[in-house]
Amino acid sequence: MSAIQTSAPDTSLGRPGRVTYLGGRVAEYVVVLFVAVTLNFLLPRALPGGPLKLFGSPEALARLTAEERAQIATEYGFGDPVHVQFFAYLRSVVTLDLGTSLSDGRTVTEAIGEALPWTLLLVGTSIVCTTLIGIALGVIGGLRRSEGKGAGTLIGAIVVDSIPQFWLAMVLIVWFGVKWQVAPTFGATGPDGVTVTGLAQHLVLPVATLTITGIGYIFLYTRSSMLNVLTSEPVQHAHARGIPRGRLVRRHVLRPALLPVHTLIMLDIGFLAAGAIVVETVFAYPGLGRLTFGAIAARDYPLMQGTFLVLTLMVVLMNLLADLTYPLLDPRTRTGGES
């Protein structure tokens, strides 16, 4: 420590400033999106069967003559040089024209637009549950661990963290759906359309699956963060100054301990949306996950590309949001000065 202290300059007159910093991050995310878009562009071109596959059924293709094949390739833009195709693709992405889902008549934008709110509902609810339970347990676990207890909670969390999602989903369907019939097994709404009770009932099992498989991670992270903060000097000193334990935990431990958890959760939202593929598929929940899986199963490449792009976009947005909100919570990144 001292070695750094003496050799590093510390005549700090404030950090470079949020604007430059955020500018850097945004540039980074633009790069990320660019890579995602490029991947998206390349993948269908690398697949077996080639771009012809985008056209129609094998049997229909089987009857085509060589000239007809070439004509199709031109029609779908595959005849152009790759860079021309790439720019055309970039343009379509920027204008949010993601193409038409293969022969189901809807545009990709439309299909995603319909699915997105459901995913946001499902993932949002799960995030709230996961966060509340995970953090509560993590805080308790951290406090108990600092007293030398709580190994049981830790092992419990590890076990929960280790359950394969699809496995749990099936078990929940069998027991809560079929055996006890306490919750519907599939879908997002009941027979009466969109009602609050119907929505809530249909959220029970998928949210339970995402929550149970998600809390372990949040728990472990919160617990570790709690332990770090509990043993940190500011907290030790506050204790020495006679701040009562309850107040100590509330005022001096929780906020700094939850700072890194905040970032984690923001990132988690994006990843949960992707993780919802399994859950949405099993529970037939009409969100982005099921759409993605359906697209993959049907080899609906434009749709696949679209959902992949949107999922990436979500993760990036959440990253950005985490970057933007972090300074609101941590004065050290807000007001400058050495860190």
């Binding site: 070695a3 050799s7 000193h237 020495a240 100054r241 006679g242 005022r251 050290r332 000065g337």
Partner: protein, 571 residues
């Protein structure tokens, strides 16, 4: 009498850290508990505040009296709520990094006032510690070290305590700031217990000293009688081991190191290191007896008036050809968008057999300069030559070859030795790196070991089994083993107990003289530099403000800043 404790004993799993200590603090008195690391002073202070970990057992009696509160039997306290902060104010160790990072100063003060029913206003508290209301709205990261320390003191004052316990309150502060903070504490007028390893630094501020050694009280003495009468040899040693800025006062060191808690000697625990110890000392435990104004636990206190601790030798006065030449060194650090000039046009020459002291406070650029000399940092401008070879122009293999001719002693004896290597391997490391034939290793290691003043019995140990002084000697041996031309000691003694600093300086002097080494000695302690170097270069904000022979600088500093530094280490 604000505080009076008897028979305090602290055990950690059977190891006795504090052994039957009696202590009193009178109303408004400032009592300093001093001693080397591991002597039990921090355990004592924490025991008084109920801050020891659950694994510690505490026994003894103690009473806290005041005219505003009923007497408090400290021995019977089970619930420390309402005591810490309200009756006993604590300034914890390392307060620099101990303030809440997420609350403004005002909020922290208000919290303490609310929790402890304080009546003052946050602004008043800040004023009392020499800060202004401007700091109320600051976060801790926006304050300087000294300001933070003051805030920590203000926090301790919020509950208007009867007793203030300050644990090493000057750690991490620059010399000038140290005096100011101590002065502030002493001027508060509260009964105060300061725990510190720096006895000399406390002389102007403490009313009474309680000197601890290996868990026991060696001596309790009012500051007024410290320079007269008879004392414990250890007290005398601590004082003699503090380097004076007066070159006419000799600088001594206590040999050896404090015993580990699980291997305490019989009889007087200081006996193995005591120059005047007799047989009796090795068998019988001395009681604390009243001697003059104070009390001393020593069988030999009568004969111990003039304890002969080994003195740090002075230079022979001859200075050979230049070994290291640094000219026009300029260095700037760049981070994302700001540049900081660490060094600006520094020249330096070190000759054979010469010890140069690089003195400056943190941020002065002295460590950067040392690292440039070592080839670890490439300066933005300027040239460094070692003998005939240019350091600054070399890279890769050639640079490493030059580096092998320089020995380096790192500031941190605890981290600079690989914890997984034995002493023998540590010392041999430069030989292995330089691909010196195996056959020559043994002889070189032995000779380096002897030069560094280490017994060969340590060769099979891991650094974790050594004391700080021993580790730093391992570093010296390692720096010497490949017969370097230049030795760079970066604050080599700053993390050591004061008693062993002189020993390190002695060793450096002897290798400089015997081996004709050029030595760059980096330090923030003016006294240490004056005592152990031939010439001194004072750095401030990356510039040389003054350079000259030790004697001259000591007696007649030209630059105001040098004078300030001298004043700060007045002892």
């Amino acid at each position: 009498m604000t505080l009076s404790v008897q028979d305090i004993t602290v055990r950690y799993g059977g190891k006795v850290a504090v052994d039957h200590v009696d202590l009193e603090v009178a109303d408004g008195e400032v009592v300093a508990v001093v001693g080397e690391s591991g002597c039990g002073k921090t355990s004592l202070a924490r025991a008084l505040a109920g801050l020891l970990p659950g694994s510690a057992e505490v026994s003894g009696r103690g009473v806290l009296r005041s005219d505003r509160h009923p007497d408090l039997d400290l021995g019977a306290v089970e619930d420390w709520r309402g005591i810490r902060g309200r009756r006993i104010g604590i300034v914890p160790q390392g307060a620099m990094s101990g303030l809440s990072p997420i609350h403004r100063v005002e909020a922290q003060l208000r919290e303490m006032l609310t929790v402890h029913d304080g009546t003052a206003e946050p602004g008043d508290l800040l004023e009392r510690v020499g800060l202004t209301a401007r700091e109320l709205h600051s976060y801790s990261h926006q304050l300087s070290g000294g300001q933070r320390q003051r805030v920590a003191i203000a926090l301790a004052l919020a509950g208007d305590p009867d007793l203030l316990i300050a644990d090493e309150p000057t750690t991490g502060l620059d010399a000038v700031m140290q005096g100011k903070v101590l002065g502030l504490i002493a001027s508060l007028g509260i009964s105060t217990l300061i725990v510190s390893h720096d006895m000399a630094g406390l002389l102007p501020y403490a009313d009474r000293f309680a000197v601890m050694y290996a868990g026991r009280l060696a001596e309790v003495v009012p500051v007024t009688s410290l320079h007269q009468g008879r004392h414990h040899p250890y007290t005398a040693g601590l004082l003699a081991a503090t380097p004076s800025t007066d070159r006419t006062v000799t600088w001594a060191s206590i040999s050896g190191s404090a015993p580990p808690l699980d291997d305490l000697p019989e009889g007087c625990r200081f006996a193995p290191r005591c120059p005047v110890a007799a047989d009796e000392c090795r068998t019988t435990v001395p009681d604390l007896r009243v001697v003059g104004d104070g009390a001393v636990a020593c069988h030999r206190v009568e004969v111990a008036t003039d304890v002969g601790y080994p003195a740090v030798p002075r230079a022979a006065g001859t200075c050979g050809d230049p070994v290291l030449t640094m000219s026009g060194i300029q260095h700037t650090y760049r981070s994302r968008s700001r540049t900081t000039t660490a060094l600006n046009g520094v020249d330096l020459t070190v000759g054979r057999g010469e010890i140069i002291g690089l003195v400056g406070e943190s941020g002065s650029g002295k460590s950067t300069l040392a690292r440039i000399a070592l080839g670890l940092i490439r300066p933005s401008q300027g040239a460094v030559t070692l003998g005939k070879d240019e350091v600054t122009g070399s890279r890769g293999r050639r640079l490493r070859a030059v580096q092998r001719r320089v020995g380096f002693i790192h500031q941190d004896p605890y981290d600079s030795l690989h914890p997984g290597m034995k002493v023998a391997a540590l010392i041999a490391e430069p030989l292995v790196i330089a691909k010196v034939p195996r056959g020559e290793h043994d002889g070189k290691i032995r000779s380096a070991l002897a030069a560094a003043g280490l017994p060969e019995s340590l060769l099979g140990r891991y650094p974790g089994q050594l004391s700080g002084g021993q580790r730093q000697r391992v570093s010296i041996a390692r720096a010497l083993v490949n017969d370097p031309e230049l030795l760079v000691a970066d604050e080599a003694s700053s993390m050591l107990d004061v008693s062993t600093r002189g020993g390190i300086a002695t060793t450096l002097r002897s290798v400089a003289t015997e081996r004709g080494l050029a030595v760059v000695f980096v330090t923030h302690d003016m006294g240490e530099a004056i005592q152990s170097c031939d010439r001194i270069v004072v750095l401030r904000h990356g510039r040389v403000v003054e350079a000259g022979a030790c004697g001259t600088i000591s007696s007649s500093p030209e630059h105001e800043y040098t004078a300030q530094l001298l004043a700060a280490s007045h002892h």
